[in-house]
Symmetry: C2
Subunit: 270 residues, 2 copies
């Protein structure tokens, strides 16, 4: 992902936070100001996002690392309201029940980004694509490197996209295991909102935690569980950021992997 | 290739011309001023290149599209003289008799770029690499995308680099055919300086050309031969640029392909 195509030296980039941590890094490389608008506690689209006068407004949908999903109607309104490009990063969309491709027909300022690293399990492949109206694509082509995507990657991606049966089976496996993981974590006392991605964001609630953890304060619990899991060679994500500091992002694994995680969590929080 | 790692908002990029046409395009994308210093007629390193105060000085060596080679000693002097980075683009170096890797040991401001698209015949693969001292690499890593090179490309490139026998045989094939093509073109009346690349730069000399071609003037001949070849589905490169307008860049093909070219040239210039 490169922001050269969207950036305007005099106008910022804007996105709701918390979100994918690469956006500010890429904006910074391009000397572009980034305006970060905080989500509310339910990760709803912040109304202020439409009022930033950004050249590029980014919404990661489903959002990382929250797994939350902004409705297509809300994003249609946002696209309509802003005077700039709305980039909808759909890297995780294969695990959601809906997507925003229909918006491209109605709005010439919408760009949708897709990756083959998630739903298609091709995380090692550097292959992604954008969906937008021809004029938008033409303006992106102006700053595109003159060399095309790797020929082997094109062949691999084409084969993967053609095999929709395998793809759908795989996605269904992740979604069904996500439901089980969500249920089991809830039973252990975590607050786990429904996720539209291949990970869940589990809030570490106080009641089941030991008094020692209680003493560490609200924000210390998730960090402590994270460290305990790490000691057991189980790696989840912990972000010491507003709205995330009391939560763990847990990628949906195989049933066997998730059982190991659940067993370890039982030990840690008992 | 991205110039973000080298660019300094207040200092230009400099390179001798004619050279690879992507340098000015990439500099422009980064809003970087490009200083172009003309080669002399023998494509020797211009002395003025050391006096540009560029943050980044680029020498394509062997140079495209001339096939000429600047000696390692001359580039050592240049590296020593300039207060900035010397980027030596060795995309075509596998077809030359020497290379500049030794300079990396002596100069912390030298970066060598390599590609697998030429000598390793992997033109569809997006795989290249840089050679420089650890501190230089560390500063490039700061602006590198957090994702690595395509995993399939790494596997393919590794296999290709490991098979040095096949690689060397292939390069020798190109070099021996390059010698034959150079000789045959010279016999036809072209002026063809020795090339250190997988193409030759053939100057279209007047004597063998028809009076109709003579009338077209010096600069028209190469362009006219180019168009005549194109009619016969033979594609060479013609650049309507200073020092190139009377020349054709001809990639070394298989002996069969080159025979077709030579036969067509005989017809055109008879």
């Amino acid at each position: 992902m490169a922001f050269q195509g969207f950036c305007d030296e005099n106008r910022p980039v804007a996105y709701p936070v918390p979100t994918y941590s690469l956006y500010p890094v890429l904006a910074d490389i391009q000397n572009c100001t980034a305006i970060e608008i905080p989500f509310d506690d339910e990760f709803n689209l912040p109304a202020k996002l439409a009022a930033t006068n950004a050249a590029l407004t980014i919404v990661c949908n489903p959002n990382a690392p929250t797994g939350s999903f902004i409705s297509v109607d809300e994003l249609a309104s946002l696209a309509d309201e802003i005077d700039g490009v709305l980039l909808i990063d759909e890297a995780y969309v294969d695990f959601a029940e809906n997507n925003c491709t229909t918006l491209v027909k109605d709005f010439d300022n919408v760009v949708i980004l897709r990756s083959l690293s998630k739903g298609y399990s091709l995380a090692g492949l550097r292959f992604g694509y954008a969906i937008a109206q021809p004029e938008m694509i033409a303006s992106l082509m102006k700053v595109k490197d003159s060399y095309n995507v790797d020929a082997v990657a094109i062949a691999v991606a084409t084969a993967a996209i053609e095999d929709q049966k395998y793809f759908k089976e795989n996605v269904e496996k992740v979604k069904s295991e996500r439901a089980r993981l969500t249920e089991q974590l809830t039973e252990l006392g975590f607050n786990v909102p429904g996720s539209c991605s291949n990970f869940v964001l589990a809030q570490c609630l106080p009641p089941r935690l030991s008094s020692r953890d209680e003493a560490a304060g609200k924000n210390g619990r998730a960090a402590e569980i994270y460290k305990e899991l790490e000691k057991r060679n189980i790696f989840v994500r912990y972000f010491n950021d507003p709205k995330l500091e009391d939560k763990l992002r847990i990628t949906v694994g195989t049933p066997e992997q998730d059982d190991k995680l659940l067993l370890a969590l039982k030990e840690i929080i008992k």
